[in-house]
């Protein structure tokens, strides 16, 4: 099945998310859409899947124009989509999720799930998926949930499969498995639209790459093009992908975690007997797939978790059991993983957000009174220093782009002397240009002699910043390894293998980027 998009335009109010986009997906091809966050990739795919109605333009299937009034129409036309955030009902079984909207019934509208189970087993066998139809989705690892999503599309006879940022939640090993599945689907004659901003994967999987920037097609690229060229196309100017940071000059280990255990209300140990140290002037990166205890670890340090045992000491002072405000005032800077929910108050101005951690202290307050002039002054300085693109310091922080919001958070946290700096996902959803800047700021904080802890699920970022890497898996520390450890070894550790064990193995896997870092 050949799929064509002609002049697709999608406007939200005055904002043009897609501007006359043309795209042709040939049968049996893996066609990648490469672009930064917010470039308009997901909007385009939601138009194609019938979730949004295009403002202008046409969709053609095998040369014939079609019109989708909802996802039902798109599915009937043979288009399947695996969304970035899985569209699975967590409390349903796999079979119930797959049957939904396409239910086989017996007399009287009674569900016939056996038929669905048979189909699931059939497809599982064909592609080697190993998905249990009766497992409840929320109990399954994300990799398996993703396969359930793929089965959902295949059960509905999809010929074109759209995968929206499919690797964002996967371990490197699961990613490799997904790429193998894509190859298999392709050899069965299905077309794949692969959406990503990760250059490495796009290069590995694609037959053709279309680059999108600010809602427009910038051009097509060959998968053999160099990463630097692809990145420049994506961003619109030349970018340097490597930071070239100086080697760390670690001093005294002033931040010490000893036997830290965090227990969730369910009784699960989300951080399990974890011990590590960070020296002044070094960056320790916490690597791991999302949901392996990183959030709880950082929140425990900040005093935001209940049921914490063990010890966390900063310059000899115990932090466990202290209030969050006291911990912040003792010199801990913290960039939370979700800036829009935890890092900023969206309705407050940029200036106000920049003093959220010091609003009651000099020079911004005296007694009960705040000093607006000092707040404004501080904002002007920070905006200039961090190059925050905002209409004014009084604009609501929620109106800024993701990258600029992150700069506001970083500016706040880095604008006072720190004894420890923690950043969770410092560049998630941030444009490539800003990433470069934020990384440099983190390194300069290190060079000022602050112990720095970076939590990231992006292996690229971990390798870029880390002097040492600690890998978390299901709340346990798999080991701490040097910053130049190979991707393969880190990948195995992220999947639960000990540091030494991961050293010994030599997985037969081709890494297209191994020499290119």
């Amino acid at each position: 099945m050949k799929l064509e998009l002609k002049g697709i335009t999608k406007k939200f109010g005055s904002f043009v998310a897609n501007d006359h986009i043309d795209l042709v997906v040939e049968p049996g091809q893996v066609h990648s859409l490469l672009g930064e966050n917010g470039a308009g990739k997901s909007t385009l795919m939601n138009v194609l899947y019938g979730l949004y109605e295009p403002t202008e333009g046409q969709i053609l299937i095998d040369g014939k124009p079609v019109e989708f009034n909802g996802p039902g129409d798109a599915m009937a036309a043979g288009i399947g989509m695996v969304h970035q955030h899985f569209m699975l009902v967590p409390v349903f079984t796999v079979a119930e999720n797959i049957a939904l909207g396409n239910e086989a019934t017996k007399a009287g509208g009674i569900l016939n799930l056996d038929e669905t189970r048979t189909k699931i087993r059939q497809i599982s066998e064909q592609y080697g998926f190993q998905v249990d139809p009766d497992a409840v989705v929320e109990d399954l690892p994300v990799g398996v949930q993703q396969r359930a999503e793929i089965i959902k599309a295949l059960v509905r006879d999809a010929e074109v499969l759209i995968l929206d940022e499919p690797t964002a939640v996967l371990t490197p090993k699961e990613t490799d498995e997904l790429l193998a599945i894509i190859a298999q689907l392709k050899s069965d004659g299905k077309s794949i639209v692969f959406i990503s901003h990760k250059l490495r994967e796009v290069k590995a999987v694609s037959d053709l790459i279309t680059v999108i920037r600010r809602g427009k097609v910038v051009g097509d690229a060959d998968p053999n093009a160099s990463t630097t060229d692809l990145a420049s196309m994506m961003v619109g100017r030349s970018v340097s992908l490597s930071l070239n940071k100086a080697p760390a000059q670690p001093g005294e280990a002033t931040f010490v975690i000893d036997g830290l255990t965090v227990t969730a209300p369910t009784g699960q140990r989300v951080v399990d007997n974890l011990s590590l140290q960070i020296a002044q002037g070094e960056i320790l990166a916490i690597a791991g797939v999302q949901g392996n205890g990183q959030t709880e670890l950082t929140e425990a340090i900040l005093g935001l978790q209940e049921h914490v045992s063990g010890s966390i000491r900063l310059e000899g002072k115990e932090l466990v059991g202290r209030g969050t405000k006291e911990i912040i005032n003792s010199g801990v800077g913290f960039v939370p993983e979700d800036r829009s929910v935890e890092g900023l108050v969206g309705a407050f101005s940029v200036a106000e957000n920049m003093i959220l951690n010091r609003y009651d202290q000099a020079p911004f307050a005296k007694g009960l009174a705040m000093k607006p002039a000092r707040v404004a002054e501080n904002a002007a300085e920070r905006i200039a220093e961090f190059d925050v693109r905002t209409q004014s310091a009084t604009a609501a922080a929620g109106t800024l782009s993701g990258g600029n919001q992150q700069k506001v958070v970083m500016a706040r946290e880095l604008s006072r002397p720190l004894k420890l700096f923690i950043a969770s996902q410092p560049t998630r959803g941030v444009d490539v240009g800003s990433i470069e800047f934020l990384h440099k700021r983190i390194v300069s904080e290190r060079d000022r002699g602050t112990p720095v802890m970076i939590v990231s699920t992006e292996l690229d970022e971990v390798l870029e910043l880390a002097d040492r890497i600690a890998v978390l898996y299901q709340g346990r520390l798999m080991g701490i390894v040097p910053g130049n450890t190979s991707r393969d070894r880190l990948g195995l550790m992220m999947a639960g293998m000990g540091a030494d064990e991961a050293q010994g193995t030599d997985p037969a896997r081709t890494d297209p980027e191994s020499g290119d870092k």
Binding site: P71, V89, A99, L100, L111, P141, K152, E174, P265, G267
Partner: protein, 429 residues
């Protein structure tokens, strides 16, 4: 390719015991000590008679006669043992088993009954009447909570159960009086319930107004409207407007003669039989049909349902309307079965108790059924006890159903899980 699957069991190795919560054992211990002091040590020194059947029944069972202190002491010992066992369980990091709490509750109620009936002027109570009355009082509650199940399973919070019941009762009274037929009244009750539902649906689904606020406003509106019409039209000419015929009680031959359960199950007005049908149909519908799968999907993850071509808002609209039918029928119980006239605010907060039963019953029709029965039992117990003349002041007994409600909702089911998208309007895109 199976590695992702094979890592799953490892998760269990990091599971330690649940965070120890001493809430349950402490609550049980406090209640057990209370039982020891009041039901055992403070037991009245006389015999208590529980009658199981009416002398006129086809099959007459002998009454149960117990000596109150004996019952009190046995009960207290069992409860103390249960509390101790709960402590042992929590200490070992295991959850307190549900059956233990159930046994505790049953023993507590039995000991309480023998104590309070024993202290009454006449230590003699008709157990069959107590139970049958509980079911009767539970009928509108059950309809109300089923209405809640239908709405909330599809993601719309229904605070307006009270309003639906009241308007159903009002419609049944007026239509029944005007037509002279109880069945026309029943039909009108369903229509009345739907009218309230439609307002809820339009505002919460189409205009995205906060669903709790719409619900509360609807309750106040229905109360005011029916109260106004009652004092102007209905009171002025009660003969024409407010004297509906009653629905006849249909006894099923032979089955209604079975002691205890006969009068409970097989001697009811048609509304009572409809209640059992509604519980069964909604249960099977929700968990075993295409409609139910879609309804639950829309209440849990509307976007996922939408991406599979399920029309989320249409589904919600339909279910909220259906909920109006169900609650309306429950409202008919007040004016066509219970008493044959409408009174101002006659539902008296039953809609809110139905809401509590819905939560206590974990959004499950059968759970809601049993929860409503519990509340019905508490209400009826209060009536029966005030009739017997107990040492406990009447005002305290009147609190009984509400105290049971608060404890049931707050204490025992802290882990109850609402549909994930409950109360969240669905906006496309």
């Amino acid at each position: 390719m199976s590695t992702a699957v094979s890592t799953a069991p490892e998760q269990s190795t990091t599971r330690a015991g649940a965070v120890r919560s001493w809430k349950t054992p402490i609550t049980l211990a406090v209640l057990a000590v209370f039982a020891l002091l009041v039901f055992a040590i403070g037991a009245p020194g006389n015999e208590v008679t529980f009658r199981l059947s009416d002398p006129g029944d086809a099959i007459v069972l002998p009454p149960i006669v117990v000596f109150a202190p004996v019952m009190g002491w046995i009960g207290a010992v069992i409860m103390l043992a249960a509390a101790a066992l709960a402590f042992v369980q929590v200490r070992a990091g295991r959850p307190v088993p549900g059956w233990l709490i159930a046994v505790f509750a049953v023993v507590f109620v039995a000991a309480f009954l023998s104590w309070i009936v024993g202290s009454a002027r006449t230590p003699n109570v008709a157990l069959y009447g107590l139970l049958a009355g509980s079911v009767t009082l539970a009928v509108p509650l059950i309809f109300g909570s089923l209405s809640g199940v239908l709405c909330e399973r599809s993601g719309v919070i229904n605070i307006a159960i009270e309003g639906q019941l009241l308007f159903g009762a009002f419609s049944a009274a007026v239509a029944g009086s005007l037509s002279g037929s109880a069945f026309v009244g029943l039909l009108a009750a369903a229509v009345g319930g739907v009218l309230v539902s439609l307002v809820l649906a339009v505002f919460s689904i189409k205009y995205l107004v906060n669903q709790v606020i719409v619900g509360v406003v609807l309750n106040v509106l229905v109360s005011g409207l029916t109260g106004f019409l009652f004092s102007t039209v209905l009171s002025a000419d009660a003969e024409t407007w407010n004297s509906p015929p009653r629905l006849p009680v249909i006894s099923i031959p032979f089955l209604s003669d079975i002691p205890i359960i006969g009068p409970i199950l097989f001697e009811q007005a048609i509304v009572g039989y409809l209640m059992y049908v509604a519980v069964a149909v909604i249960y099977i519908g929700l968990f075993h049909t295409k409609w139910g799968l879609r309804t639950r999907a829309v209440g849990e993850h509307p976007k996922a349902a939408d991406t599979l071509g399920v029309k989320v808002n249409r589904m919600r609209f339909m279910n909220v309307s259906l909920a109006g039918v169900v609650a309306g029928l429950g409202g008919a119980f007040f004016t066509l079965v219970s008493v044959s006239s409408f009174g101002r605010d006659m539902t008296a907060g039953q809609g809110y108790i139905a809401l509590a039963a819905l939560i206590f019953g974990r959004w499950n029709p059968i759970g809601a059924f049993f929860a409503a029965l519990l509340f019905g039992f508490a209400t009826n117990l209060q009536y029966v006890l005030s009739f017997l003349g107990t040492p406990v002041p009447n005002q305290f007994l009147a609190m009984l159903p509400y105290i049971v409600t608060i404890f049931a909702v707050a204490g025992l089911v802290g882990r109850s899980r609402a549909p994930a998208a409950n109360g969240v309007p669905y906006i496309k895109g």
